[in-house]
Amino acid sequence: MAPSDSQDPVISVRDLRVRFGDREVLHGLTFEVRRGETLVVIGGSGSGKSTMLRALVGLEKPSSGEVRIKGVDLSTASAREMDAIRKRIGLAFQGGALIGSLSVGGNIALQLLEHTTLERSTIDVMVRIKLEQVGLSGFERYSPSQLSGGMRKRAAFARAMALDPEILFFDEPSAGLDPITAAGIDDLILSLKKAYGLTMVVVTHELASAFLIADRMVLIDHGSIAAMGPVEEVRNSKDPRVRQFLDRIADSTQEDVVDHMRIFTEGIR
């Protein structure tokens, strides 16, 4: 059951625009993420969903608009405020982004060592627990390069959860994985949701996984929101852009020609 509208938003995004050079990739996104819900952001390759995720955690500066996490505007936050927020969030990167010079255990221990005053022995126990949660017990001493893609993703989840964050962000958690491993990742996200009541934002283009884990969904198409709402509402939407994405219909050739012409004429200009 999705939480009611009356609950305060943990993340609120208002008219978010991001541009790279003179090309705008996000054209004014406005949405909220409520406490304890799982928001799944779907969209095709190049739709801007990963850029949006990067803007949500402050890795990308908005060219206008604002992103607020727990009421703090990221673009005006001081370094200290930003650090305080970042200690309360976890982000699992698409490729894991584990620090290559540290072991798997070292990656998970890193924030505990840097941001807490816990004893080393306590931290070791916590690392073991976190790895157990993602089904990687016994891999503390492995180097990230010795892990498979799926294991690296799970290790990245464990690292994202190291400080017991309030908000978890996942970038393409099941992209590039075989169906069995991908289903395992979905189960993992669902169990995290059930066990800790975390607020989660998941960016994905895997529809099956999206419908399974979402409370609400946002469909991003060419840098703007095409649809937003509870899972059933999006699933039953009549909007042609939504239908095209959900029914997996390729762009028609006519549009391709128009696109090509546009590229061609832009090249001349």
Binding site: L59, A79, L91, F93, A97, L98, I99, G100, E114
Partner: protein, 265 residues
């Protein structure tokens, strides 16, 4: 008039580049003084870097400067012999090594070993999103990666330069005792008489600045790496090329300053 524009653009780029170096150095210094991270952990990382960049370079620097010491002695002897001034070989080696070649060769070896490694390490971390991961974990990449490298290099380069001085003089004494008619003790006495403290201190001061410059270039190149593996290669190459250029330029400026400070004679 095209070439004037070219010169202008190149000058602007160079000034901007030096600005970038100053920025990364100033940031590292600020984050060292007001560290957002734990100091004990910062020291651990600095020691780790010092072991890799400093202690790891001892064998190669020893070997290279030993050879250079022999070479300077041989080259010097070639000319001095004709003047019947073989007794000056020890002084020539001592002054050439301590003032100039010890610090310079140390810097060039360290550029090859560590300057390139800094650029490759940070560049790869950028490509694999590890830098972004550090940021989202509230670990500033400059405080976490760069500041310890600055401490390590500013401490280790002068140490390595002193080692290079010793080994260079030892190399000179090898020739001196075998082919130059010195006794080992006599060679060392001649060396001591030829050297003044400022010969050594000027070299050591230079090498501190070299260490800072090499770190700044390596890290700056790493952070400005574009997307993809070949970009890491490109930034590693430019880290080496630019560091060598910068070290020689700094050497020139410092040598000029030391010369003027002595009254120009």
């Amino acid at each position: 008039m095209r070439w004037v524009e070219g010169v202008g653009a190149t000058t602007e780029r160079s000034v901007a580049y030096v600005g970038g170096l100053a920025e990364v150095s100033a940031n590292a210094l600020r984050l060292l003084i007001r560290s957002p991270l734990k100091r004990s952990r910062m020291l651990d990382r600095a020691i780790h870097e010092a072991m890799a960049a400093g202690v790891g370079a001892i064998p190669i620097i020893s070997l290279v400067t030993l050879f250079v010491g022999v070479i300077i002695a041989l080259q010097g002897a070639y000319e001095l012999q004709r003047l019947g001034a073989m007794q000056l070989v020890a002084g020539l080696v001592a002054i050439a090594i301590t003032r100039e070649l010890g610090p310079l060769i140390t810097a060039i070896v360290v550029i090859g070993r560590s300057g390139s490694a800094f650029a490759a390490e940070i560049g790869t971390m950028r490509v694999t999103e590890e830098l972004d991961a550090l940021k989202t974990m509230a670990l500033d990449p400059v405080a976490f990666l760069v500041a310890p490298k600055f401490i390590a290099m500013a401490v280790m380069l002068p140490c390595l330069a002193i080692l290079a001085d010793l080994l260079g003089i030892l190399g000179g004494s090898l020739f001196g005792t075998i082919g130059g008619g010195y006794t080992f003790g006599g060679y060392m006495l001649a060396t001591r008489d030829a050297l003044q403290l400022r010969d050594i201190t000027s070299g050591v001061i230079k090498s501190v600045v070299f260490g800072i410059a090499i770190t700044a270039v390596g890290c700056h190149e790493g952070f400005s790496t574009g997307a993809g593996a070949e970009e890491v290669g490109r930034s590693t190459t430019s880290a080496v090329v630019i560091s060598i250029l910068l070290v020689i330029a700094i050497d020139l400026i410092f040598t000029g300053l030391f010369y003027l400070a002595r009254g120009g004679n």
